[in-house]
Amino acid sequence: MTFAVELLGISKHFGAVAALDNVSLSVEKGTIHALVGENGAGKTTLMRVLYGALQPDSGEVKLDDQPHTFKNSKDAIQHGIGMVSQHYGIIPALTCLQNLILGAEGGPIVKVSEAKKRADELAKRMGFEFDWDSDAETLSPAGAQKLEILKLLWRNAKVMILDEPTAMLSPSDSEALFASLRKLVDEGATVILVTHRLPEVMDHCKTVTVLRGGKLISSHPVSEVTDRSLAELIVGGSLVEPPVIEPVRDLGIALDISKIVVKDDRRHDVLKGLDLQVKRGEVVGIAGVDGSGQRELFQALLGVRKIDSGSVSIDDQEVTNWSSAKRLQFGLRLIAEDRHEEGVIEDWSLEDNAILGLQRLEPIQKSLFISTPDRHKWAEVVAEKFSTKHGGLNQPMRTLSGGNQQRFVAARALEMSPKLILAFQPARGLDLNGTADVYAAIREKCKAGASALVVSFDLDELLIHCDRIVAMNRGELRQPKPEEARDRQAIGRLMVGAQ
């Protein structure tokens, strides 16, 4: 067996925290190798070491049996390693072609027509199509993902690292991605897939390596593990059982959206007279593909997007023209879609972030001032709720891994007496037990009298955790028929607008 990549005894510390502790990984040439583990298990850190973006404190990197030390990513790229990071490396201000060739332009003057020719050849090989002169900001998530793959090919990468590549993709786009990857592997490439989604591991990978808490747990051929056994290896214990959905007692309407009309950024009507009622104590899931109007609906409910007509009431109180601040004071809480952009301020400390949006509420604000002791206490509560791993509440938010940030943001929204919880992908970037924990907490608050509206692009997640699911398509909500209320296929059809 020949190994394309061997990482031997890698350790890496950030301050006092050991992100990686003597981790080894051997990846067989010409296979897809899965790397799985909870948030903060060290998957991304390990991959960044291989990619030269981080220097390990100790340990050895071998490519094709030759030891190498990569000073930076440039070095690693030159040795045939390519990486697609979680948030994609596409720079929106550049054109598709410029993104493709950035860092490997082939000389001080770019020969644009030659570059386009080679770009087209690569695209054709993968069955993709690109308008190379268009700005990269026009790309859909699936398009950006395809461009990332071509970027690896452009650099002649032999070892391809993909960090959570399907997090933003629809099921059919994910299938297409794996078809591409299999093609590349057949041609001799080696793929390391970092993922949370176990079905991807079972369906597409040959070997799987499990990390937990910065340590290597084990490596197995995928044929020797099951979904269940793998999940238990990842969490290091038994799994949280999915909740039993009980019928909601009728305690009246908590959220009443009546015929609202809302425009999108291009000034087109995106919600055209949308109606939705959420009962008190109910968790309602909105299923739909990205861009169906979920974002605008949430912004309108939060009061940051103008409602042109129609009305919104919370607990029989009309809030249509209220400011966001007033709505938050009334008990509206948000788990934002994009935690980097909307959920946290990364340069601020955890403690400061803990009160974002809640700063006017008791007990954080006392008369005109923010009470620092109460803020500190509150931040501790928020951090403990979902056991966020952190190195001190005074540390900046950006020192937390993505999953830990999500835990923190979810806890912040749920802990301070919510009346209506708006959760946009509340489990984004969370592992299995983390997801279960967040939904369990939402349910607990709903049992105590709140209600929740949840948007997710993962229909299975909604089916497990919500009382009721409605499908959103082109700004319209559709109720599945009562007998098909939990029918995956039926809801899937409504999501894409089929009858």
């Binding site: 929106p92 201000a93 950035l102 003057i109 770019v110």
Partner: protein
């Protein structure tokens, strides 16, 4: 009318050169309010050195001085991570005080005549060519693509194997050269150096850059516009329109236009996304 147009071109030249200096700095992600200081330093050194080394030598020394000052901005913002605006203000302060001191100390008090200077036409030609070169560079140049990448998202640019810090060094070197030329142009125009002779042109250049959406050609056009406004003011000075003098407020027009532009009345915001990020 021809006079006004010719004057407009002359007035636009230092603005345009300085704005292009701002472009190579800000497009790469470094906020630069020090354009004013760079111009002033170059103007002073050009005037001082022209007396000893001739016209070309003077320009060379002027450009060198502003380039060194520009690299100081790179050093403080990239190596020592000082806030870009503070560093820029320091550059302006150094230039304002430094030129006053240098000129007082080294200028020849006996030589009250005019300096030997480069013809202004050279600078005018440069001010027309440079924007086009930078535009071509942004389309076809490796440096242009990498500069844009560094200014849009330095982290992603790094992951693609480029080094934003190095790219920005060359960007700021170019800033020094272009602002240096702009300063020399001012000296050529009046064949002398006077205290604070830039008179806010660095900021107007910045305004043109913002108005042009950090793109070379539109910025060039904005500079022409500002140049035309200034020329008109000079031509109309003292004459009366509708029975009133040209109001002093005219001089602040570029700033008003910039505020309107920044408020988003002229299309979308094009500020480089990674500006100020390391």
């Amino acid at each position: 009318m021809i006079d006004v147009l010719r004057l407009a071109l002359i007035m636009a030249t230092p603005l345009c050169l300085a704005a292009m200096g701002g472009y190579t700095s800000e497009r790469g992600g470094i906020t630069n309010i020090g354009l004013e200081g760079l111009m002033l330093m170059s103007a002073c050194v050009t005037a001082l050195c022209s007396a000893h080394f001739g016209a070309l030598g003077g320009v060379a020394c002027g450009v060198l001085s502003s380039t060194l000052l520009s690299i100081l901005h790179w050093l403080s913002t990239q190596k020592y991570r000082i806030d870009h605006v503070i560093s820029g203000m320091a550059i302006n302060a150094i230039a304002a005080g430094g030129t006053n001191f240098l000129y007082g100390k080294f200028s020849d008090p006996n030589n009250s005549g005019k300096l030997v200077v480069m013809p202004t036409n050279y600078f005018v030609v440069a001010a027309i060519i440079v924007p086009f070169l930078l535009w071509v560079n942004s389309k076809y140049g490796r440096f242009g693509i990498r500069l844009m990448a560094a200014g849009s998202d330095p982290d992603k640019a790094r992951l693609m194997g480029t080094e934003p810090i190095t790219i920005r060094f060359w960007g700021l070197t170019a800033t020094g050269i272009f602002c240096g030329l702009a300063g020399s142009m001012l000296v050529s125009e009046v064949q002398a150096f006077t205290d604070n002779m830039t008179a806010g042109r660095g900021y107007i250049a910045l305004a043109a850059l913002i108005l042009g959406g950090w793109r070379p050609i539109p910025t060039f056009v904005a500079c022409l516009g500002f140049g035309f406004l200034s020329a008109l003011r000079v031509q109309l000075d003292g004459t009366q329109i509708f029975g009133a003098n040209i109001p002093a407020v005219w001089a602040s027009l570029p700033y008003i236009v910039t505020i309107v532009a920044l408020a988003g009345f002229f299309g979308r915001n094009r500020t480089p996304a990674g500006i100020g990020k390391l």
